[in-house]
Symmetry: C2
Subunit: 201 residues, 2 copies
Amino acid sequence: MVALQESTMIDGEAQVRRPRERILAAARELFRRHGIHGVGVEAIADAAKTNKMALYRHFGSKDELVVAYLQSVVGEVDDIWTALERDHPGDGRKQLKAWLSLAEVCIASDERGCELATSAIELTAKDHPGRKIIEDLKVDHRKRLVTLCRRAGVSQPSVLADTLTLLLEGARVSRQSAGAKGPSAKFMKTAKAVITNFLPH
Amino acid sequence: MVALQESTMIDGEAQVRRPRERILAAARELFRRHGIHGVGVEAIADAAKTNKMALYRHFGSKDELVVAYLQSVVGEVDDIWTALERDHPGDGRKQLKAWLSLAEVCIASDERGCELATSAIELTAKDHPGRKIIEDLKVDHRKRLVTLCRRAGVSQPSVLADTLTLLLEGARVSRQSAGAKGPSAKFMKTAKAVITNFLPH
C-alpha cells in the first residue's frame, strides 16, 4: 500500500495536499501497480487517507476517477514532449536522440509498461470515456513523432515514426511477458539499426 | 455471452463436448473479450452451461483455470510454429514470409491482441504460476524466430528476430490504444523495410 502524506510544514507554511490530489495520486499508484480492475475504491480511499464518501464526492464514480487518472498521465506525456521540443528547438536530430533516450528510460524504469496502453487493454468496453482520451493522445503522439522525424531529415518520416512507435510499444509490453532480459532489452540496438537505414547515405 | 452447445448429433453419433472442455472454451472466450479480472467463475460456468461446483471440481480455483487457459493458448501457438516449419522445411526465406503473413493476420483479425501479452499485464502478482507459462513460451518463440532468421540468411539473425518481435508485439498492443488505423496498420510495411536492410546486398 502507498502511504501519502496528508500535509507537510515547510518554513511555517502548510503545504497541504488536498484530498482530491491525494485520491488521484493514490489511484494512479495503485492502478499502475495492480491494474484498474485489480483495485477497489475502498483501497484507494484508504491509501489516500480518506474515505469512500469523500472519493465519490470528488469523482462521482470509479469510472470518473479512471478518466481523471488517464488525463493526468496525458498531461505528463504532453509536458515531456513540450520539454523535448523546447530543449532542442528546431533540431530534429537532437530531438530524435533525446526521444530515444527517453524511450529507453521508460522501458528500463517501469516494468508495468505504458499506463495508457495497459489501461486500453483493461478498458474492454468500447464506449468507456477513457478509451477516447487514450486514442487522442496516441494520435497526437504519432503526429509529433512524424514532425520530429521530418525535422531530422530522414527519408520516410511517417514510416520511421511508426516503426519507432511499434518498437517502443512492443518493448514496453514485451518486458512484462518475456522479462527484462527479453527482446525489450534490445530496443536501443534495434531502433538505432532502423534509424541508420532511414538517414540519407 | 457465449452459448456453447452441450452436444451435437452428427450421423447418429453423439459429439459430446465434455464439461471440462466446455468450461475451458467458455473461459477462453470470456477472458479474451473482457480480461481475466473482468470475468467471474459464475459467468464462466453459466456460459459453459454448467455450474460453479462443476467448475471447481475440474479446476480447483480460478487461478488453476487461468493456468489451463494459458496452456491451451501455448499449445495453439506451438501448433502454428510446427505447421510453419513443416510447410516450408528448411527454407528460411519462405518461413519468414509465412511468419509475416501469420503476424499480419493476427494483428488484423484480433482487436484484443496477444492473449499471452495481455494476460501478463493482468497477472500483476509476480509469483502467479501463469507468468512462468507465458515467459517460457516467449523465450521459446524468440529462439524459434532467431533460428528461422538464421536459415533465411540474414546478416544479424538475433537482432532481426528481436526487431520483428517488438514490431509485432507493438502492433498488437498499439491497435488497442491507437485504433486499427494507427501505427499497427503499418506493421507489414515497417517489417518489410527492416528485413530488406538485413538481407545481404
